[in-house]
Symmetry: C2
Subunit: 225 residues, 2 copies
Amino acid sequence: MRLAELGERSGVPIATIKYYLREGLLAPGERIGPRTSEYGEEHLRRLRLVRALIHVGGLPVAKVREVLGFVDDESLGRTIRLGAALWALPQEPHPDGASEGDASQDAEADDAHEAALGEVDRLTASLGWEAVRQLAPISPSHASLVAAMAALRRIGYPWRSELLAPHAELMHQVAVLEFDFMETFDSATEQVEAAVAAALLFEPMLRALHRLAQEEESVRRYGMS
Amino acid sequence: MRLAELGERSGVPIATIKYYLREGLLAPGERIGPRTSEYGEEHLRRLRLVRALIHVGGLPVAKVREVLGFVDDESLGRTIRLGAALWALPQEPHPDGASEGDASQDAEADDAHEAALGEVDRLTASLGWEAVRQLAPISPSHASLVAAMAALRRIGYPWRSELLAPHAELMHQVAVLEFDFMETFDSATEQVEAAVAAALLFEPMLRALHRLAQEEESVRRYGMS
DNA sequence: TAGAGTTGGATACTGCCGCTGTCCAAGTGG
DNA sequence: CCACTTGGACAGCGGCAGTATCCAACTCTA
């Protein structure tokens, strides 16, 4: 398949495909002439993944390049390759959300952070997530969880680890399913691609469930009016 | 408190506060002279909410204006006011993620959509979420859930409603807690603000838990290497 | 083989968005 | 009294995801 067909089958404008090629999000096609390249099904698959990362996941192009760099790095072992790709996914839309006001506020923020840290520690201990506990100092997901809990605490919502535990257990079941799914693919690259896609697409579903539950509870409490 | 102090206590640059005033995200202060205004604690609170919506929630300024418009509309009943504010929160970062390739792909997408619709229907039926079932045709959250499930299905991940049910139940418990928290505030405006903030800040926490669970499972399966 | 169309490649531009810097005349405060 | 601040207006910036244009070299079709 050549460029025009790739664009047609993927629904992505040719100018945009050229852009992705330039940015290294898409490997160049196989050269079959000085000014002609042939693209395969794997290009189509990759193009769909890129679009999903950017449009569903909301990742900036630079981040996509980083993630795909790990996905494609065949010199890495599977664990590292998968871990690196998943860690490269951004943890929060905008990590610069902290306030930097006067001293009292900074102190407030630190208190919340400390408390959140302790809460997460108790949570992972009660769950027996030993790997997570070992990785805690360097794991972006761990930092992200602490930051989110601290933010909630700062607006006066001191969430307890006991309330989080059931979610955590469920998330672990979800992770098991995701990994099972991932292992149905043959090539390591496809496996990691599948894991990234699943990790990313599951989250909007969770968010939607959360909002639906809010709707239900709102109507139950206050009626439909 | 005057402009300079508001900027200092919130940590938001004065130029930015002026921008928010211009954009209508922040009510003007109380005029105490032809060129002087006084700002109160509610301005500080609102400013923090605006920052949280933009930086933690990733909302564009226009969306923030829309949400706050409902939060502030005292002519609305509480149900409507709350519902409108929550519905105005964006459901997906980039809702334009669909592909529009050739006919075969469109058909594929429709199949996935139909299947997802049925799955969600069975889910809400089994949960007894009657309000959600009634609101389904107009609820953005419902549409969003269907879209997310359809996207997963399209990449070959036909999630069953049984697997979602425990999440949904948990989310309902979460919603109950959120509403309890909301009701600890006196003024309706503060209540709705609290609900919006809680709805928004809970989601990053869930995502972080999901990713931590992935880490744990990855190490359990493939070791730390 | 002629002529229309496509290719990879380079470069410059667009539009949106969240600010940010500058300027101003009118007031304020020590 | 005079430096400073205020509300207000407006232009500009920097980043980002594309998009448009042009090109010479090539390929396909008639």
